[in-house]
């Protein structure tokens, strides 16, 4: 059989599956805007949960933010937490179910603005949970307002002339802050807009779940992501903007552990 003659159709029929959607994601239309990074982040968390074989013992927490409906997409038991309080909710779960896997999935408004206190104290207590922190530099859900993580001079619906750092402060690097805390075992900053980064992020997520499983402390994963709607860009353009503007400020890589 001559190799060059095999057609895509034949490959589909006879080949091996190199990638297919994880079954831990519900086969439905996600409510995210086209090109939004939340979708990839969701998938990676669920792939890890599936691959670790812990679906039956995992409880996820959806925040208030665009990912408020994460429970409509992730096929596991989930709770929806009040805005910013996911780490407290996770603590409540973990304290009654010390051997279950508990993760929160939070946006930057949720985790770094209204939820600052809950984030820092859950981290400081070293709750054996995983925090997935999707930093898109904006409040996506409510229509693109300023977030604590919004870049200087970046335009949002509540900084229409660009973020004025004299008035609102510099972007908050909460990830670097929680890395200081002894209760936090693993801190990393990742991204999902390029295939290689997606792979790295998945590895990091797996490591995080392992660390929490081994009760070594809290594992904190920031994912720098786009919000093309909030940024008012096309998805592909938003990823370039992310690369050129977000990453210099939020450099990728492990910060602790």
């Amino acid at each position: 059989m001559e190799q060059s003659t095999i057609s895509p159709e034949e490959i589909i029929k006879t080949g091996t599956v190199a990638f297919k959607p994880t079954k831990a994601m519900i086969d439905t239309n996600m409510s995210y805007c086209p090109g939004c990074g939340h979708g990839v982040a969701h998938r990676l968390v669920m792939e890890v949960v599936e691959e670790m074989g812990i679906i039956e013992d995992t409880i996820g927490i959806a925040p208030v933010g665009c990912s408020v409906l994460a429970y409509d997409f992730m096929d596991i038991d989930m709770q929806q937490a009040a805005h910013g309080r996911a780490p407290a909710v996770a603590t409540g779960i973990k304290r009654v179910f010390p051997n279950k896997h508990v993760f929160t999935y939070q946006g930057d408004g949720d985790l770094a603005a209204i939820g600052t206190s809950e984030t820092i104290h859950a981290c400081n207590r070293g709750e054996n949970i995983v925090i997935i922190f999707v930093n898109n530099g904006i409040y996506g859900m409510t229509g693109g307002q300023l977030a604590p993580t919004t870049l200087p001079n970046m335009k949002t619906s509540t900084s229409p002339y660009g973020r004025d750092v004299d008035m609102t402060g510099q972007p908050l690097k909460i990830t670097e802050m929680v890395a200081l805390l002894p209760g936090v075992a693993f801190v990393t900053r990742q991204a999902v807009h390029k295939p290689g980064l997606v792979r790295k992020t998945k590895k990091a997520i797996k490591k995080a779940f392992k660390i929490a499983e081994e009760k070594k402390g809290l594992a904190f994963i920031e994912i720098v992501s786009n919000c093309n709607s909030g940024w008012k860009m096309r998805p592909d353009a938003s990823n370039i903007w992310l690369e050129e503007n977000m990453l210099p400020f939020y450099p990728l890589g492990d910060i602790k552990g």
């Binding site: 409510s31 805007c33 859900m141 709607s229």
Partner: protein, 189 residues
């Protein structure tokens, strides 16, 4: 005179701003108005609708459950709003994307090929003004002069140079609007 109209379609079709221009135009001829949108994240890509009331008198309820005129710009809105036209009222729709055309016989129905005409104009942004034209032809409640003023008020100054294009679109809408018989349903592919 009171005119109660709902405009319903997809987000992105200019539904809300069409309503706003209608409202501003009515103000320009000294009328009372109210403009009540559906809102929230379902607007992202989902459906959007706006209830506009124009009246010589003070307007009471901005919320209505039946309308003098219903303007329908996508299929989900047809399902939802066809039944809300007052008996004897008017339904205007753009057949583009409509799989289940209206069936009521106690109302007057018109079609306007808004998408097609906008494509012809090579300017999809004129779509809502074409619809406006169709509406104004069928319900001539606003003087074009006041619509001009309404456009001036509702568009930011940096867009005022677009007003002639808008007026042109309105005129096309006025020309192209056609009465529709329920029996014609088969004609809409």
């Amino acid at each position: 005179m009171t005119e109660e109209v709902i405009i319903a379609g997809f987000g992105g079709q200019g539904v809300l701003s069409l309503g706003k221009i209608l409202a501003y135009s009515a103000i320009m001829q000294g009328q009372e108005v109210s403009w009540m949108p559906s809102y929230g994240p379902e607007m992202r890509g989902g459906t959007a609708n706006v209830t506009v009331i124009l009246s010589d008198e003070k307007i009471n309820s901005p919320i209505l459950n039946e309308f003098d005129t219903v303007i329908i710009l996508n299929q989900p809105s047809m399902v939802k709003f066809e039944k809300e036209v007052k008996p004897g009222g008017i339904l205007i729709f753009d057949p583009n994307g409509i799989h289940n055309p209206p069936t009521r016989t106690d109302i007057k129905i018109y079609t306007i090929e808004g998408v097609k005409e906008a494509t012809k104009l090579k300017n999809t942004k004129t779509f809502n003004m074409i619809i406006m034209g169709a509406y104004l032809k069928v319900k001539p409640i606003l003087e074009l002069d006041n619509v001009h003023k309404g456009l001036e008020k509702s568009l930011p100054t940096r867009h005022h140079h677009l007003i002639p294009k808008n007026i042109e679109a309105i005129q096309i809408g006025m020309e192209k609007v056609k009465p529709y018989e329920v029996s014609q349903a088969h004609l809409l592919n």
